[in-house]
């Protein structure tokens, strides 16, 4: 069995590709419209690194009719994305579990096999997410207030955000484990998965360590890349600045996808050790 570090690479590519394709579907008509409306205008020079106020006001006004179309398109694409990702998770989780040794054929087959159960988990997860985000926010506010007093307002905001994101990562880890239970028992019942998840609590420290570690690694990587992005915005606009920005932005998305896959490959250890 290869290490999660290596094993997470190709699922990350798949997850990244899905995100990128989904966004291209939405962004391409937007780009065509932008180019038509602002491609010849000097006002567009005020788009880098963030749009100026006048440009933003002009953009909001001139594209007001486009908003409803974009929102509708985003909802449709968002729904499709949600279904496709749940489908793909079947293959990624099965692969993490080493269920199939023939990657290509086995991957798609596994996607289809676990789709039903995974969808149940994902839909049901909405409520716990609302709860955990609220809880994270509550704790985050408390800690934020403390950090604000000591280190200032920005530190307070960062602490609040970090607490919320860590709460999300812990819940995401639990959901991954539910999926593994379904795979392990070849049973798509959500109730069964939740009932069987008691054994995770037996290894609670290990579970928390794995998922908080993943959360911290993700946040640290994203923060570093974010600061690189900030540095790039200080460059004078041109092809190089644009390409650098595009590369960092896409690397951030890939990094996030990588840690999504990495979290899956780490959590499988709870079942194998």
């Amino acid at each position: 069995m290869s290490s999660p570090v290596i094993k997470s690479f190709w699922p990350a590519l798949v997850l990244y590709a899905v995100k990128t394709i989904a966004v291209l579907v939405i962004a391409l008509p937007l780009f065509v419209y932008f180019n038509e409306a602002f491609g010849f205008s000097r006002l567009a020079d005020d788009l880098w690194p963030v749009p100026g106020g006048l440009m933003l006001a002009e953009f909001l006004w001139s594209s007001r009719d486009l908003f409803s179309v974009i929102i509708l398109l985003s909802l449709i694409v968002g729904l499709l994305y949600f279904l496709i990702v749940q489908f793909i998770y079947g293959g990624i989780c099965a692969s993490a579990f080493d269920i199939d040794s023939s990657p290509k054929q086995g991957f798609l087959e596994a996607c289809g096999r676990y789709f039903k159960g995974f969808i149940k988990i994902a839909i049901t997860a909405i409520l716990p997410y609302i709860f955990i985000i609220s809880l994270g926010d509550l704790i985050g506010r408390f800690l934020s207030a403390l950090f604000t007093i000591v280190l200032g307002e920005t530190a307070g905001w960062i602490v609040r955000l970090v607490v919320i994101l860590l709460a999300i990562f812990i819940l995401a880890g639990y959901l991954i484990n539910l999926r593994f239970i379904q795979i392990q028992n070849n049973n798509s019942s959500l109730r069964f998965a939740i009932a069987s998840s008691k054994k995770i609590f037996g290894k609670l420290k290990y579970f928390l360590a794995l998922n908080i570690l993943t959360g911290f690694m993700t946040l640290a990587s994203m923060t570093m890349l974010f600061y690189v992005m900030i540095l790039i915005t200080r460059l004078e606009f041109g092809l190089i600045a644009f390409l650098l920005m595009l590369a960092v932005q896409q690397f951030m998305i890939f990094t996030w996808s990588y840690f999504e896959a990495f979290q899956i490959n780490l959590n499988v250890k709870l079942f194998k050790e």
């Binding site: 966004v23 932008f34 010849f40 000097r42 006002l43 933003l56 001139s62 968002g78 951030m252 996808s257």
Partner: protein, 624 residues
């Protein structure tokens, strides 16, 4: 006497005694300090009032002197009774807002007047119409005569609604609270019912106000921070006077701490709640910076005291003569809300308090200039005019004005009464579109000429009540040019504007030199400009070259379509009108410039950044 004191007989007798003494004093020649009344200062008031916090009532006596500034005798004296706007749900005020209506149902407010006399006689008749009180004297008031009107009043104070009432901290705000003589503008009375969008109009007056408050109360007013003359039996007795003010406003309550300082000989006091103590440095910078700026651009601050009160008036901030009421805490609009509101309300000390335009009939005159000047002052103080600052995107009020022009749809002239704007477009027109129109006028005149004309207007109309015609005349004199076309089109009228640079084409040509032997090559750039609507603005067509040089031609902007030719050694790469983005009433700024070749990189960069944000949203969605 209808006053009701249903408690503490000792306190009642004391109040009664104090009130009686003050009434007697006012009847025996105690007058305000200023000299006789005139057409510019046509009223003065002596008011004695007692605040009863247990019943939320204010009991008082008013002696008002009124100078007949019209050119004829008068058979009626009109007072505004603003507190009656909160009397019941049938008032014009209640019909304008569900929130206010709910507030009135919960806790109404009103004013009742009694024992009214005019020059010692009872009026022939009295007519009360919602917020207006008409008194018909037994004999007409001759031209240039002074009449003295006395009355007792009691005010039921509502929970804070629109500049008036008490809040949860037990603090009170009183503006336009007592019976106020209807103001006159150009010899005509300005009477209106008080509504959600209606602000006030009254003439400059002198005040002497005596207040009895609970002894733990602090008092700040148009006259400054007040110290009690005496404290007795749980009550504090205050006397204050103010001159040349359009209202006597005051706040009182137990919850504030005061920090005072002097800036440029102006006594500035900040009444703050303890939780907002950390905002004082920021606030002080905004206040002193804007005072300096407006002192320089307009005229010197007109009063000796300037007070900021940490109080939520139910709007972002509220201007009162010599006072600003605003919450000091940070709002949803982030770090710039506090300085921006402070500067905006400070600007009102000129455009409202000292240049007292008619806020009911021409609300654009004060709010428009104040909104425009707020951005200018912020640029001066902070190097940037920012209203919203989020994720690196900074939006100024000027940027908002651009949207306001389009959202307001140019349905109403700017000179429209506050209640007559279509739909809910009062705010868009009076603040945003008005500021955009003033900025456009700045573009037409040039900044220096505009500033000179504005200063002339401000100085000429200090302590006066100018209208839009006065503004036009003053600007025409100040700028030495006829501006009738501008005012008729964009202020009294509803002209729409959109100029477009339709195309830019450079061609290489050859021209014979003088000796007919040699030929020189040059580029001719043809720029095609189109005017889409009826609105006309003078334009400068500018073309830019690769080496950074530019060339320009002036155009009166009148033709619907015009070609402009430029000769140069290199082809032009762009053409533009209004390069400084001053003409904010132009409905499409994107088409005000055109590059010879489309440049997709900035657009693609923006689109890819939007795509990145969407990818991040999908990434989080993927966690499900």
């Amino acid at each position: 006497m209808k006053f009701f004191y249903g408690f503490n007989i000792r306190s009642f007798i004391l109040h009664l005694l104090m009130l009686s003494i003050l009434i007697l004093m006012s009847g025996y020649g105690i007058t305000v300090k200023a000299g006789d009344l005139s057409s510019e200062l046509p009223a003065d008031y002596v008011i004695d009032a007692v605040l009863d916090t247990s019943s939320r009532m204010l009991y008082g006596h008013e002696s008002a002197r009124f100078y007949n500034l019209t050119n004829h005798s008068l058979d009626v004296i009109i007072f505004h009774l603003y507190p009656n706007a909160f009397k019941d749900t049938l008032t014009l005020m209640a019909s304008g807002s569900g929130r206010i209506k709910a507030g009135i149902i919960e806790n109404p407010g009103y004013i009742e007047c009694d024992s009214i006399t005019i020059d010692g006689c009872q009026p022939d008749s009295i007519r009360l119409e919602e917020t207006l009180l008409y008194l018909y004297p037994a004999k007409e008031l001759p031209l240039s005569s002074i009449s003295e009107i006395k009355m007792q009043f009691k005010i039921k104070i509502p929970e804070l609604i629109m500049r008036y009432g008490y809040d949860d901290n037990g603090n009170y705000l009183f503006s336009h609270w007592h019976p106020i003589l209807a103001g006159y503008q150009k010899g005509k009375p300005v009477v209106f019912d008080y509504s959600v969008n209606t602000e006030f109009f009254s003439n400059f007056s002198n005040y002497r106000v005596n207040l009895t408050l609970p002894e733990n109360f602090m008092l700040a007013s148009t006259a400054g921070i007040a110290k009690p003359d005496s404290v007795f039996d749980g009550n504090a007795y205050f006397s204050m006077s103010a001159e040349w003010v359009i209202d006597f406003a005051f706040v009182c309550g137990p919850a504030w701490t005061v920090k005072s300082f002097i800036h440029d000989e102006i006594n500035i006091s900040l009444l703050y709640l303890q939780k907002d103590e950390n905002k004082l440095i920021e606030l002080k910078k905004a206040i002193t910076g804007s005072l300096d700026y407006f002192n320089d651009k307009l005229f010197r601050y007109p009063y000796t005291d300037f007070i900021f009160v940490d109080f939520n008036p139910g709007a972002g901030g509220m201007e009162l003569p010599g006072m600003v009421i605003m919450p000091f805490s940070k709002g949803r609009r982030g770090k710039w809300r506090l300085p921006m509101t402070a500067i905006h309300e400070t600007a009102h000390q000129w455009f409202y308090a000292a240049i007292a335009t008619n806020e009911a009939n021409e609300p654009w005159l004060d709010e428009g200039f104040v909104s425009y000047l707020t951005d200018r002052a912020m640029e001066q103080i902070y190097g940037q005019a920012t209203m919203i600052d989020r994720w690196g995107v900074k939006v100024s009020f000027t940027d908002f004005s651009l949207l306001a022009v389009r959202l307001a749809k140019t349905l109403d002239p700017l000179v429209t009464s506050s209640d007559e704007f279509h739909g809910n477009s009062y705010f868009l027109n009076v603040y945003g579109r008005a500021a955009a129109t003033i900025k456009t006028l700045e573009g037409v005149l040039g900044k220096e000429t505009f500033d000179d004309a504005l200063k002339d207007f401000a100085i000429n109309y200090r302590f006066k009540h100018p209208d839009t015609y006065d503004l036009q005349e003053s600007f025409e004199n100040g700028a030495s040019q006829n501006l009738e076309w501008f005012f008729d089109s964009y202020i009294f009228g509803v002209a729409r504007v959109d100029y477009e640079v339709v195309s830019i084409q450079s061609s290489k040509l050859t021209k014979a030199s003088s000796d007919d032997a040699a030929h020189s090559e040059y580029y001719e750039t043809v720029v095609e400009v189109q005017r889409h609507y009826e609105g006309i603005l003078p334009q400068k067509i500018v073309v830019g070259y690769d080496n950074g040089e530019t060339a320009g031609q002036d155009w009166n902007g009148e033709e619907k379509y015009k070609l402009f030719k430029f000769e140069s050694e290199t082809p032009a790469i762009w053409a533009a009108i209004d390069t400084g983005y001053c003409y904010l009433i132009d409905e499409n700024l994107a088409n005000n410039s055109r590059k010879a070749q489309p440049e997709s990189l900035p657009v693609f960069s923006f689109a890819s950044s939007l795509g990145f944000i969407m990818q991040m949203v999908f990434a989080v969605l993927g966690l499900l």
